[in-house]
Amino acid sequence: MTENESVAVLGAGVMGTGISTLVAGQGLPVTLVDVDAAALDLARREIRNGLRHAQLMGAVPADRDPGALHTTLSLSDIRKATAVIEAITELPDLKAKVLAETAAIVDPGTPLISNTSGIPIDELADSLPNPGALIGTHFMNPSYLIPMVEVIRGPRTSDETVASVLSLLTRLGRRAVVVRDAPGFVTSRLLHPMINDAARVVAASTASAEDVDALMHGCLGHPTGPLRTADLIGIDNLVDSLNVLHARIGDERYRPSELLLDKVRRGELGRKTGRGFYDYKETAE
């Protein structure tokens, strides 16, 4: 681990913001890139709050100063990064394009880490001159509170890349479980159809969202219930991820349910818009 270590994060949405909070909270400098200036403004505020949230939950060392945060619209600012974490929108072509642009900017051999929810790493690796540098890490939201990360090793991922990313994750205080490459890996393969089915249960009026979550929590030990999880993920991202999985697995359980599509059309995306299956406005009405 060198003293000059610095991490670039691409995409300042839900995940890029949370991952940047994690990296900065553990004392490493971060450069956060987005194409949308408003997303970067929001991310700076959210990262400030996220650092406080991490402190509140005892998830950052109290005696460590946060790493410096630099936000930018220019991808060329990440030239000196020692690792790049890609967390842009879950669209395969867009990710392939941005990863190729990134590979042309950073030092050869710099680990390129995709936070995709379900696109096979080997599929994304096709766009790269050095496919060995690409690996998947599936951080969960909020990344700065959840200690475990699913790591996806593609068939062409190099040993050096695996070793370097596992050491970065250790430096960030995360525990890794390494799995093989497949659509949705382990966690999305299991979680996404469950959430999709939970939305179908609500649409069929079998039970309210509150009751579905209460049962999954109270009977099956799910920490918050699938529909609170949907709101935390962001329902637009959930639909994108389900589309990725449906196209690659073929099973109808992965086809986004009408209720989810409807919520996206109405802009009820979950916590990020203040409303999804639940209401999140900060003041009591």
């Binding site: 709050n49 406080r52 949230h53 402190q55 509140l56 939950m57 005892g58 909020p142 509170l145 509150e210 929590h217 920490p223 918050t224 935390l232 916590r271 999140y280 900060e282 003041t283 009591a284 009405e285």
Partner: protein, 93 residues
């Protein structure tokens, strides 16, 4: 304490209770541990911080950002009073 102090004291607790009730659909007791009894999650903890800051015009930073200050309605009200520079209201103070 004076009637005015009394009213103000009650209103902090009441406002917090109203917020928690609106968010969780359960009315908590003032000394109920919201986390141990499953009403509050780690995500809700931060909503509580932001709610207190906005509603009572205080800033919660440094060592005050500890879960123990947010476990009960009582603890949150005490934190707000301390940050507003009001002395702790213990009986006949």
């Amino acid at each position: 304490m004076t009637a005015e102090q009394q009213a103000r004291t009650e209103s902090i607790e009441d406002e917090i209770i109203r917020f928690v009730t609106a968010k969780t659909k359960v009315a908590p007791d003032v000394d109920q541990d919201l986390f141990a009894t499953g009403l509050a999650t780690s995500m809700f903890a931060m909503q509580l911080v932001v709610f207190l800051e906005q509603t009572f015009a205080v800033e919660i930073v440094g060592k005050d950002l500890q879960l123990v200050n947010f476990r009960t309605v009582e603890a949150m009200a005490a934190l707000v009073r301390r940050l507003r520079g009001e002395t702790a209201v213990t009986g006949d103070a």
